[in-house]
Structures are given as structure tokens and as C-alpha cells.
Amino acid sequence: MSDTRRQKREGRWLAVGLYGYLALVMFVPLVVIALWAFYDPAVGWYPPDIVPTSYSVEPWREVLADRGIIGSLVLSLIISTTVTFLTGALAFPTAWALAHFPFRIKRAVEVFVLAPMIVPGIVVAVSLGEIFFRLGLTQTVLGVILVQTVGTLPLMIRILTATLEGIPGELMLAARTLGASPRRALMRIALPMAWPGFLAGGLLSFISSFEDFEKTFMVGAPGVQPLSVRLWSYLGGEILIFPTAAVVTFILLAPTLIIFFIAERLMKENVLAAGMGKL
């Protein structure tokens, strides 16, 4: 009894801590960005003013005046959705194999699989850009999708491997004794049970694809310009135009926020459904 109460209390402190951290790393920067995005360039914003003395939508008007931006947004959504599904499809078999390798081999293979995560994106972009050029994939949507997938795969594999490792092996064996071939057991048991992994990995893949600049720019530009590439051009080349940068950040952040909102709802519903049955 008192144990569960203590757990509850600890849970509350954990929640406070996590939300505090979230506020610090997401909310504070957002406020600063918001202030910059809406300040009035005609009046300016100088110390010691903590907030601007006057507001306007001038920076927004400037960015959104570009007609091509809607097209870029649509292109971005298409590319990111495709990348997300492609990543999931490619990562699942790899993760499944990885989850069932003997421990030693697994660690070794994992290092290879995860290597692209530690190499800076620009290095990957430059070397792959060269290869893609030879393959005639530069300035094609397919090329952009492929190069982004290279970037999103490692994390997806990592997350899915962890999820699949958590599935008790006996479930697959039980499915086999009930008449399922290895493939059907995989599709009916492991795949649906890996759903939280797909969700988490998919969200991160979508966001990283949506925001990717280096790889997309190297392979796609100037022919293929999804939102991230187009928006970067507003940043001002050599010097940073702060208000425009703030608007760009806002636009790039939007899908992230929307997706996290959806994800939270999905997870909550799931947890709620489980919790209600327990009563």
C-alpha cells in the first residue's frame, strides 16, 4: 500500500523534473524565437528591453510572400512521409535479426549500423553526394529520399531492436505451435507488438527528415527544394537575419509540435485503455 503511494509520489517528482526540463529546452527558446519573429523591425529591439517595445508581422510577410513555399511544404511532407515508411520497412528486418544475434556479434554489428549517427551529417552528405552524382540520383526526389533514409535508419534500427528484444521469445514459439509459419508469426505477433517502437522511431525519422538540410541540399539542390532547403536561404547567407531566422524556425518546428501532440494522444489512449481494464 505505502509502497504504491511512495511510487506515486516519486512518479510525481519525476514528472515535475521532466516537464521542467522540457520547459527549459523547448519552451524558453520558443518564447525567445516568438519574440523575434513578431518584433517590429521599424522600431527595433535593444537592451535593456527584456521584450520588444513594438510588434509586427513584417518578417512573416516577407517569408510567406514567396509563392514557392507552399509547394516546398507539400514536397517536404511527401518526402518525409515516404522516408518514414521506407525507414520502418528497411529497419524492421534488420532490427529483428539484430535482436536475435548472440550478444557479442550483436554489439559488433550494432556499431556498424549506428556509425552514421556519430559521423557528422555534412560528412555523410559530401561522400554520398559524390556517389549519388555518379548514379544520376542528384537533383531527384528519389535521391533526396534515399539520402535522408541513410540518416534516419540507424536510430530507427536502434529503437526497433530494443523494442523487439523486449518481446518474449515464447510468444513466437507459442504462435508456431498454434500453426503459424515463422513469417506469419513475425507478421502477426512481432510486427504489431513493435508498434510503440515504430511510433517512436517513425516520429523521430519524420522530424529528422523534415528538418534535414545538409544531405538534402547536397543531393537535391537546386532542382529539388523541400521546405528546409528553401527556408535556409532566408537565413541571410553570411550574416544571420534574426527575425527571418525566427520565422523559419517556427515553420520548421510546427510539424514537430503537431507530431508530438498526436503521439502523446496515441500513447495516452493506449495506456488509458490498459488502465481502465484493470479496474
Partner: protein, 353 residues
Amino acid sequence: MAGLSIRGLTKAFDQVRALDGVDLEVPDGQLVTLLGPSGCGKTTLLRSVAGITDPTEGGIWLGDRRIDGVPPERRNFGMVFQSYALFPHMSVFKNLAFGLEMRRLPRSEIRKRVAQALHLVDMEAMAGRLPRQLSGGQQQRVALARAIVIEPDVLLFDEPLSNLDAKLRDSLRDQLRALQRRLGVTSIYVTHDQVEAMALADEIVIMFSGEIVERGDPVSLYRRPIFRFTAEFLGRTNVIEARLDGDRCRLPWGDERSVENPGIDDPAGVAIRPEDIAISTANGSDPHGEIAERMFLGAGTNYVVDAGGVRVRVNVAGTQNDLIDIGTPVRLTPPKSLHLLRRGRHGSAEALA
């Protein structure tokens, strides 16, 4: 349906031989329990029969059809796992329907058979629940229903009741036995609980360290085991080193008894079950020993008696007897004729039971 034959089954893992030349016959429609301490290879044997572990050597037959090498999905064996292994993302109904869907039965047929199976285990009301919304006993019954709904040729149970508390275990055990009798499915039931083994089995097979020690129906195996290991693992027993003289033996506290199986190789001692010894206070006559320990259990009282330098366990049934105090001199009355045990290479099971 048909009986199951296992011949020379061996399974070597990297470090251990989990099974070492196991021969086993399960006659058609009978239930055989595999009883042995943890790690003796029971699960490995069961999984080999199910087809989810590949034996290193040996063969398995169902009737006259050889089935080792047949993948598990084509064996049509139902298995109940120790962890139940219910699919957590599927409702009870879906869990049961799974095996039937794999057999591509029409929907109406699936619905009918799932309902029947749920009825058998008294779980109709729970069809829509997810496994995590069920109690342990309910999950166990769903696991059982899922194994029988496919109308298996063989049922395999891997310690299905070991995660439940004692009361529930007893009642489920009886239900399970009744169900197995009714369906008449050839079954292997693995357990390390001797009471469960005795209550369920047509035949008990005692295992130790990847090998079969001995087998028999519960009554003869309990009363006249060959090996010391069996006597000690199947219930508790006193193994008393007695001086042998032809078909007589002399017990450490001076009494003489006849031996019903004299002349066996390598005797370890005579077996006297604690419940077969009568105990009485000496009351002035020559005592055999004195009470060293007493444990009142409600349904009976267990004593340990120090007699002629050995410790003898004595269980007195019933609640109406006068309790005897520790230190009291007592006389012991074992049965008229005693059974000799062989030492065997399994040694004593005292530490394991």
C-alpha cells in the same frame, strides 16, 4: 489419435547435455507427468516434442509417423507454457482464434469453436478482455483453452500451474485433469511438484540431469520405488541404513523387520515413509529414542525423533491426538515389512526436494 514414442532423445547445448538418451512412451489418450528438479531437462524434452527445439539425436513418433523434423506449425500439438505466453495485443477471443485462423477455418466455424473452448474453461464472459486484464488463474485457463481449441493430437504442459498460489493451483489441477480425461488427448505434463504429478498422472516419469531415473504409475512408484532418488523426490521418506541379514534387517534403534526385496544390488537403506510409522510415548518401557523436533501443521503433526543415532521423521495425521513434547522418550512402530532402496548414480534428492 495415437500414442507418442520418444527414442534416444539427446540434446546437447554448448555447455550441457540437457537430454541424454531419453526413451519415453505415452500411450494413446494417457497423461504422463515428467517430474524432476529444476534444470533436469524437462522443458527441453517438451520443446523437442513440440518442435520448437531441435534435438541433437534421437527420434519422435506419433503412432507410426516420425515427426521430428516436422516444423511445429505442422505438428498440431497444443502447448501450454509456464508463462502462459498469451499474445498481449490480442483479446482473449483473438488469442483463441489465432490457431484456427492459421488453419484457415471459416469465420463462423472459428466463432463456434472459440465459444466452445471458452465454455470448457468457464471463461465465456472474458472473451473481449486483453490478457493483462485477467488474473493469473484466468490467464492460465485462457492458455489452456487456446491449446485445446485447435483440437491437438498431443497436449504439452510446461509447469502450467507453478505461477499460481496454492489454493487456486489445487482447483485448477482438478479441472485440468477432468478436461484431459474428457478430451482423451495424449498428454505430457511437466512439473517439479510431486503432489501435482501424483494427482494428474496415469504414469509418472522421474527425471534427473537429462536422464530418466525411473517410471511407474503413481501408486507403485510411491510405494515401491527402485531408487533412493525417487523415494526422496516423490514425497519425503526416511532412508535408514539397516543391518541386513538375509530377508531380515535390524534397525538402528534395535527393532527387527523383514525386507520385501532382499538381495538387490548396492542398497542405500530401507525406506520408511514418515506417515507409515506409529509413535507412542515409552511410559516406562524401553524407549527407541526421544522427540527432537515438533511441528504442528493443523491437519497433522510432524515429529523428528532421535533414535539410535539417526533422525527419523514421523508424521501423525489428525488433530485429535495428544501432542508429545520435545524430549519425551518414545517408541516407534514401522510397518512389518520394509522396502530396500538402491543407491543408483543419482544419489540423494533430499537437498533438491
